[in-house]
Structures are given as structure tokens and as C-alpha cells.
Amino acid sequence: MVVVGGGAAGAAAVAELRHHGFGGAITLVCGEDAVPYERPPLSKEFLLDAATTDGALHPPEWYEQHDIDLRLGTLATGLDPRAGSVALSDGTSVRYDRLLIAVGVRPRVIPGMDGDQILYLRTIGDAVRLRDRIRAAGHVAVLGGGFIGCEVAAAAIRLGKQATILEGLPSLLRRALPPVLGDVVAGIHAAEGVDVRTGQNVTGIRAGTGSVTVLTTAGEVECDLLVVGVGTVPNTGLAEQAGLAVGNGIEVDEYCATSIPGIYAAGDVAVQHLPGHPGPVRVEHHDSALRQGRAAARNMLGLGEPFADVHWFWSNQYEHSIQSAGICDLATGYVLRGSLTELSFSAFWLDGNQVRSVISLNRPRDVIDARRLIGAGHPVTAAHLSDDTIPLKRLARPQRAAADT
């Protein structure tokens, strides 16, 4: 078994292969020079020097203990599906019976947006650099009001810096939250002193010595450090070269299988066609990568299980916790539980009497309970969901024949 990609999906996959008793050779090819690690802390506690663990997905000795041939700092340079082999950047090549491609994504780079004062965040190397540079800066601006931008802005504020968020759309976290909820997050940042500039498009930058001026449709912003978080690009090069079906990512079915038998994909790079979903789904969340990596491993072993886990993500900004489970079209209306103004709520999206997804602010237990409802067939009503006195857990109880009081 060969796994290319040392992120969450890849690391979870190799563990799952051994967990299911696979005793054969496993090679894990990691492009980065670090033992596979978690990315989520890099935009949060890592920047505050508050990480309580080293973030390794498995301790370094785990690989040898489980007979995993771990190749760090090694890239897959070519894939030959007919020969069943992958060429590596160290000049060697590995044969496989089953291959998992979990090579993730890279930050979308804006042409012309580079320079000493401009940083992107993806790897631990980026995070180390960013951590040092934020400390040295007075004013940190983030380009992009997505999760990276919001989390980095929060870290800068907690480190006593001035912070500005630049977002072209009218609300923050627009790809994950409907505008009303994105505005609540903007309010949280504004209350912490962040200059939240939504609806302002960046037209260029002017680099000075030790500073950079960002030109926007609503004026100029001068800062010491500009962190760019404007999305990602899936690393589909290897797959494309080898003739796999590729769209907004490597195309896979619900078994994580690509268009070529014997080759699977999982994690940020995989765009998955799932029954019950109107369109293909490509998710860039840590928990989904772990679960999808494990599902791919089980399918590589012929255990034939479709990936049906409920998607879940979290974002920590200041002491607030934003969590979401499920996937659906956020343009439709939602049912609210709790209070927007009190910064404690859960918003549910329904399809008939079925919960499809939930987005919560500071209500992690609601999310745990809602995950049991999503895709499980339990009928709910908007009245139940919006009533804080009715525990959500109760809605997942088996239905009784007689009326419940």
C-alpha cells in the first residue's frame, strides 16, 4: 500500500490500515520535512505560543513501530497507473497494489502579492515564520475574511497588535456562514478592536521598507505585516498527469475511489460525489480528512464501506467556538436556537423534517447532539429545535408507539 501525502488524511489512512490488520508493506510519502502534524492549531494556539502538544498526528516512533516506511521531504513526481508505480523525488520509485493520493491543497497566491511583508499560511514552516513576524509587528492586516484571516486577526489582537480584516464580500466567512451569522462574527471582531473592512476590494499593494500599504476600493491601509488567506488550490497535478478524472480536486465516489481502479483519494484534495448531495463536495476540514482517510483505507482493504460520516468543523476565535456539522445549501432559511445577541446560538437547516446541517456559536453540545440527527432519519420540528427547554438529545430517541409527555 502506498499513501502519497503526509497530512491528516494520509496519517489517518496508514493507521487505519494497520488497525484492520493489514500486515503488508506500507509506504507514506510526505512532501514536508516534518512528521505528519495537525494543521488547525497553526492559525490558533500555535501563534499564541499556547499549544499544549507538539501537534504530531502520531509520535515519530509510531511509524517504525508499525512498520510504516515513512519518506519525509519526498514528493511524488510521477504516477504510472498501468505499471502500478509512483516515482519519487529522491530518485526511487515504489510499486503499489493500492494507492491513496492525499496530497492536499496549496494556498492560492495572488500574483504580485509577495514580498517581505506578505505571508501565506499553510505549513508549520509558514506558521513559525508568521508567529515571529506577528510579534515583531505593530499592525497586522489579513487579506481574506475566511477562517485563516479571522483566526489570524484574533491571534494578533490577543498578542496586543492592531488588526485589520480586508474582505471583498459584504460579510465574513461567507463560504461557511450566511450573511446574518457572518455579521455576528464581524461584530465579535469589531468589539475586540479589529478594523473589519467588508465589501472592500483590494486593488493592489505598495511595498515600503518594513511596511506595506494595501490599496482598496475604500482607501489605503498601511500595515507592518499582511497575511493573505484567500483560498486554496487542490494539488491535482500528479493525478491529472496520470489521467485520473480531475475537477475541483481529484474526483472520487463515495468509496473514495478515483476513476482508475486501485487508486483512491482523500482529504482536502478529494472532491467527492455522495449520494443524497446535489453536487460534488470538497471539504477542507481536519476532522473530515481524518475520517475520509480512514474510509479510504477500509476501501483499499476491500471492506467496501461508503463514506457517510457527517462533516464537522470548528473554528476558535478569541474565546469563541464556531462549529458546524453537515452540509447543505445555506441560502435557504434556518431555525434558530438560542440568541444571536448573547453570542450563544445554533442555526439549523432543515429539509422537510430532517436536520441537514447546523452552525453553532459557543454551543458545542448542540453540535454533538445535532450530528446524531443529521442523516439519521429522526423527524424534527422547527418548534422543537428552537425551544431551548427541549434537549436536542431527546429528538434522537427512538419513537414510541404511545404519546410521550
Binding site: 493507521a15 488497525h19 494556539e45 476532522d287 464537522w312 453540545r365 454533538i368
Partner: protein, 106 residues
Amino acid sequence: MTTNWHETVVNLDDLWEGDMTAVKVDGEAVLLVNVDGDVHAYSNRCPHQASPLDEGDLDGQTLTCAKHLWEFNAVTGCGVNPDDARLKRFGCRVGDDGTISVDIGP
């Protein structure tokens, strides 16, 4: 082996089956869970990033941490997902009057 038993303010009457509660024992953050009538005591800090486990969910035998959804078997303390983690267990006993005591160790 040095023990360090303390009576907690929690009585079995207050901790129903299927419930959990957090309690400070001599400065130690302790989680008490009642699974099928048996009380277990663990450190209230998730082995992942020290998040308070009592803010999570106890469903049957499964304890889920709210922070990143790590799951544990509340009876054995062993990790379910991921399966190579485990809760830090403290000795626990219930007195005749229902008082729950915890051994927080040296």
C-alpha cells in the same frame, strides 16, 4: 503506592445514571461519570488539548469531547476515536451514604 483520597461534594443522589459532572478535588479538575450505576473518575482534561470534558457529551458509554470530538469509552477510559488516546483515571469509591471520594494521587 501513595494514595490521596478526598471526599468530594458530590453524592450519588446528585449524579444520575448517564450523567457526568465536574468537580474540583484539592485543586485537581476531576470528571465524575455515572455509567449504569458505576461511578468513574477521570481528569477533566482531554488528553488532546486539555479541554474540559464536562462540556462535552456523555451518551451511554461514550464520552465525546466538545472541542474536537475525540471519543472515549467512559467505562475503560480508552480512546474510541482516536483509539490510541486514553483518559487519565483516578481511583473512585462511593461511600454507604452516597458520598463520592476520589484518589487524586501524589
